[in-house]
């Protein structure tokens, strides 16, 4: 009977071939058409281990490193390997209880699974690390200590501009600029750390390891043929003088305000203080998150860099600029005088002047020395109403254009983020405020530095550079050079910006001489330094603040701007102490101490009491101070000992 079924052999062969064809077509698709599988295989079997280079250092102008790379340790746990350990003892060392221990283990399992290591305790304090290290053999192999590089700041200074590093945020990770970063990488989040992230970070190396299915490294891939070595970050060299910075920060303790000192010849920032400030070590190490939270809610707003983020009416310190513009426009010459009798009445209202004796504004130099309000308001009006431009609007446009070229009303472009632009009375603003109807009298106060005018301390210091340099400035910047860097990165800070080009040197000198008189015999006598010709201008800026919803007049801001020495300026400075009253009381001595320290590298014995007094006085409002936790936060630092040593040396030198 089998013979009859012979053709069925063919059917069976066809069934076999049909199935085989199905398998072959599937294999064809898997192995030849779809390329994703080989990519998946790479991801599967090759472990890319990132080798972190050491982050670039930051040095001050005398090559003192103002921060260090410190090695802190994370305690890592591999849950599957935790066996028979003295849990109670581990909890004791870490200062946690059993519940917390269980919770952390559970978290670790949830994050990375049982066989991979994840963080159990991050950035151990040196004491905890010490204890852990001694007893590590008790907890291995489930627990391991893993090195994490962090920054430390021996001087405890410069928090406001150095910035801090932290784990990259998910939003940053989406940014193409951070495409090379991975979750958990550290990145500069503010200040110089942020601006120069690409330079400081260096180039990360990649080590390829072959791994097994449980992600356990099995050894280098192809003997390390594809590995890339890590290249250390480049070092930044700042114009900053850490001693100056430290002194400034100490003097701003208990005060709200800021100090900006610039080398007018280069635009390099010698010191930038935002008061009150915090120890940068607080934002590095184990308690970063906690401290950042506390600093962010502190009533004194220590995380705000007031030198570039706060804007103030410049008050009388603006008068040299009003004078310069008038001179450059040619509406006056240095001998121009104004008959002030204790006030300015030409605008239909009487605006008081501090002086009423005749001749106190007989010429530019005298008016400057006496800080005559009437004189400078009049200069503003002359400039704006200058027939040459044809109309007040065009005059105002021209006037604000001058301000812009001097770096006012826009961001200067300093090399740290979050700079504010300030505000100047441009026509758009005036149209808005006065509904389109305004003349040179409407905002006449700007001539004396009040009214629609707010500048950052950085802009005020930069304006001093312009006067010190007789009409030019460099964009203020921290970084003077980058080690082993040939890029044009710092090019924009090397270019000279010329302003007020129509003024003769003699005319310039009349403004400068006026400022010298202010220090020699005027309101800023406290700024005198033996043997050095200091030029300056005090200011006392009226200001208002909303308190409980009501706009209330606040105590005046104490301001001083200046530069020294007169003929070969080496330092230009702006000091603002908020709500501290008359300019001469706080701003002048603070600026003077810093200029003396910078120019003579010492503080004369007779002026040490002033320094002491400045460091101790508190001008902050009790409201702000009583609720602030800043001082207690700053007092816990255990790293910034070099700062204290240096300070002692300066004082007792």
């Amino acid at each position: 009977m089998s013979v009859y079924n012979q053709p069925r052999k063919r059917v069976i062969q066809l069934i076999i071939l049909g199935m085989i064809a199905l398998i072959v077509s599937r294999l064809f698709f898997l192995q030849l058409v779809d390329k994703k599988y080989s990519k998946l295989a790479d991801a599967n079997a090759v472990l890319k281990k990132v080798v972190y280079p050491s982050r670039g250092m930051i040095y001050d102008r005398k090559s003192r490193s103002i921060l260090r790379n410190e090695a802190l340790y994370d305690l890592m746990v591999t849950p599957a390997s935790v066996k028979k350990i003295d849990t109670a003892y581990l909890c004791h060392i870490l200062g946690i209880d059993k519940d917390e221990f269980d919770r952390r283990i559970a978290n670790a399992i949830r994050r990375e699974g049982r066989v991979r290591a994840s963080v159990f305790a991050s950035l151990l304090t040196p004491e905890t690390y010490g204890k852990m290290q001694e007893s590590m053999y008790l907890f291995q192999p489930g627990f391991e200590l893993v090195l994490r590089p962090v920054r430390s700041y021996p001087y405890g200074a410069g928090a406001s501009f150095l910035g801090y590093i932290g784990e990259i945020s998910p939003t940053q990770l989406k940014n193409p600029a951070y495409s090379s970063y991975q979750q958990g990488d550290y990145v500069g989040l503010s200040g110089l750390e942020n601006t120069y992230e690409d330079i400081l970070m260096g180039q990360r190396g990649i080590q390829y390891l072959v791994k097994d299915n449980l992600n356990r490294p099995q050894g280098p891939l192809e003997n390390g043929e594809f590995d890339t070595a890590a290249i250390a970050g480049k070092n930044l060299r700042l114009a900053l003088d850490i001693e100056l910075q430290l002194l400034g920060e100490k003097m701003m303790k208990g005060k709200v305000g800021s100090i900006v000192a610039i080398d007018p010849k280069t635009g390099g920032i010698l010191a930038m203080v935002s008061g009150p400030t915090f120890d940068p070590n607080l934002l590095s190490g184990s308690y970063k998150g906690l401290n950042l939270g506390k600093l962010n809610v502190d009533t004194t707003k220590p995380t705000m860099n007031r030198a570039i983020q706060a804007t103030y009416p410049p008050g009388s310190t603006f008068k040299p600029i009003t004078g310069l513009i008038a001179l450059d426009e040619g509406v006056i010459n240095p001998s121009f005088g104004y008959p002030c009798h204790g006030g300015y009445a030409q605008c239909g209202r009487f605006i008081k002047c501090t002086h009423s004796n005749p001749g106190h504004a007989a010429n530019l130099r005298v008016a400057m020395a006496n800080s005559c309000n009437s004189y400078f308001m009049h200069l503003y009006r002359l400039s704006v109403d200058n027939g040459k431009w044809g109309g007040v609007v065009k005059g105002q446009v021209k006037w604000t254009e001058y301000l812009r070229t001097m770096g006012l009303g826009h961001r200067l472009g300093i090399d740290i983020p979050s700079e504010k632009a300030g505000k100047i009375p441009d026509t758009a603003a005036l149209n808005r405020v006065y509904a389109g109807r305004w003349n040179s009298c409407s905002e006449v106060y700007v001539g004396m530095g009040q009214g629609y005018l707010d500048l950052t301390p950085l802009q005020m210091a930069n304006a001093m550079c312009i006067i010190a340099n007789r009409g030019s400035y460099f964009i203020p910047h921290f970084v003077e050079s980058i080690d082993n860097d040939k890029s044009a990165r710092l090019q924009k800070y090397k270019e000279r910006h010329d302003v007020a080009t129509h003024i003769s040197d003699t005319a310039f000198n009349s403004v400068i001489l006026g400022m010298e008189d202010v220090v020699r015999a005027g309101t800023a006598r406290g700024a005198q330094i033996d043997g050095i010709a200091v030029c300056g201008k005090t200011g006392t800026a009226e200001n208002y603040a909303k308190i409980d919803g009501v706009l209330t007049k606040q105590p005046n801001h104490s301001l001083f701007v200046g530069f020294a020495p007169k003929d070969d300026p080496k330092i230009a400075i702006a000091v603002i102490v908020e709500n501290a009253g008359f300019g001469a009381t706080y701003a002048v001595p603070i600026a003077s101490i810093l200029m003396e320290k910078y120019l003579t590298d010492t503080i004369s014995v007779k002026r040490r009491p002033i320094l002491q007094k400045m460091m101790e006085t508190v001008t902050m409002s009790p409201r702000m101070r009583t609720k602030s936790k800043l001082d207690s936060l700053n007092s816990v630092s255990y790293i910034a000992t070099s700062g204290e040593d240096l300070l002692k040396k300066i004082i007792s030198h």
Partner: protein, 428 residues
């Protein structure tokens, strides 16, 4: 022994013997590739028997002795003892069910001394012999329903016991005997029905049951409409159509959901759902996914022997047993896979050729049985490694690591070679 004393190898079918040897050697090399780590001492591995490939070498030598023994046995022995062996096999299966050792969720293993043995493998041989014996006997008229039912029962009995042992994959292989029965006269319509059954099952799993109900109803209505003249002549036709419709509807609405919730184990349901692409749980798809990555990453020429990263670093589970094809797919790529599968196809076609040249029904049925078993193993095993079938643990014949499997296939093939060598004899 009425054979003339001649050379030991007289009558051996060399192509089959050669392909057998080639597959076993490829298998050992593949197991070696799956396990080898830099620095392994091969001699020590052999001496200490601490690697699967080394154990497989030992199994091969045992198989060599076994094969020689079979080769020296008279063909009549197999026909004579077929039923006895079948009874012994069933007994062994029941024994395992009662006192089996649990290995990875299946209780189909029997531990004897230091060795573990899987009788479900061996009973394939017993069943094949018994089926051949039954179909070749003079009393059997396979065109009768009764004979067919007896034959089916002979196959389904071990199958049922094996399912109870939680070895669904191995049980499935017993359905390969229906291919043999088809060759021996089982109506072709049964194959069509079986195929339709598979299509029905797949659609029941993939498509919403109520949509299927509408489709069946629509189809039934169309069939009735177009065959209305026939129906007028023959009322039973209408009844048939309605019965089929009712069965299909009941199948998708009641039977499949019932099977899924009550009969099948949860892991089985998951595996089926994974295969159908219904389930995206990475843990459930892990095996298939890793296996597909390994094979897919082989590309055209493969990564080269011992160069595969997936199989060598334990990404693919069960890589020396059920997933051994991954190693070949990864190391030797598309070309290697084609040659490898081609070798199997050649073996199966050669066995069919050998089967058709037999004079005795016993030998022919037996040989077809061998070809069908190899075919089912190959198709299901390779399909599961490339994501065409759910992961059911059945080995790749002669290649996968495992003593029971290697021994069973060795015996299957060598009994066939013996029978073929004596094809001039008429065996009953």
């Amino acid at each position: 022994m009425n054979r003339p004393q001649a050379k030991l190898t007289t009558g051996i079918d060399w192509p089959i013997f050669g392909m057998y040897l080639a597959l076993v050697v490829i298998g050992i090399m593949a197991i070696f590739a799956a396990e080898y780590r830099d620095g392994d001492n091969i001699v020590q591995n052999i001496l200490h028997q601490n690697k699967n490939w080394a154990r497989q070498v030992l199994w091969l030598s045992i198989c060599a002795i076994l094969a020689l023994g079979i080769w020296l046995t008279d063909s009549k022995f197999f026909t004579a003892t077929a039923n006895l062996l079948y009874a012994f096999g069933i007994l062994l299966l029941l024994l395992v069910l009662a006192m089996g050792t649990d290995v990875k969720g299946s209780s189909s293993w029997l531990a004897v001394g230091g060795f573990r043995f899987q009788p479900a493998e061996l009973t394939k041989l017993c069943t094949n012999l018994a089926l051949a014996k039954y179909l070749s006997s003079v009393e059997t008229d396979f065109s009768k329903l009764r004979s067919r039912l007896i034959a089916a029962a002979m196959v389904l009995l071990p199958c049922a016991i094996i399912i109870l042992q939680n070895e669904t994959g191995l049980a499935l292989v017993y359905f390969s005997f229906f291919l043999v029965m088809y060759r021996e006269g089982l109506p072709g319509i049964l194959l069509v029905i079986a195929f339709s059954g598979i299509v029905l099952l797949l659609s029941a799993l993939l498509v919403d049951k109520y949509i299927l109900l509408y489709i069946f109803t629509g189809l039934a209505a169309l069939v009735i409409y177009f065959s209305r003249r026939e129906i007028r002549r023959k009322r039973s036709r209408l009844a048939l159509i309605i019965t089929i419709w009712a069965f299909c509807s009941a199948f998708v609405i009641f039977i499949v959901p019932f099977a899924f919730t009550k009969v099948l184990k949860e892991y089985q349901v998951r595996r089926i759902e994974v295969m159908l692409g219904k389930e995206n749980d990475p843990k459930a798809t892990y095996n298939t996914r890793q296996s597909m990555i390994a094979i897919g990453s082989g590309g055209f020429w493969g990564k080269g022997y011992l160069k595969g990263t997936q199989t060598r670093f334990d990404f693919v589970p069960e890589q020396s047993t059920d997933f051994i094809f991954c190693t070949i797919g990864e190391d030797f790529g598309f070309v290697g896979s084609m040659l490898f599968i081609g070798l199997y196809v050649a073996l199966m076609f050669r066995i069919i050729y050998v089967a058709e040249r037999q004079r005795s029904t016993f030998s022919r049925v037996y040989a077809y049985g061998v070809a069908s078993i190899i075919f089912f193993h190959l198709a299901i095993n390779v399909s599961m490694t490339i994501g065409l079938a759910p992961v059911i643990g059945i080995p790749l014949p002669l290649v996968s690591y495992g003593g029971s499997s290697l021994m069973t296939f060795t015996m299957l093939i060598f009994v066939m070679l013996r029978l073929d060598a004596d094809r001039q004899m008429v065996l009953r």
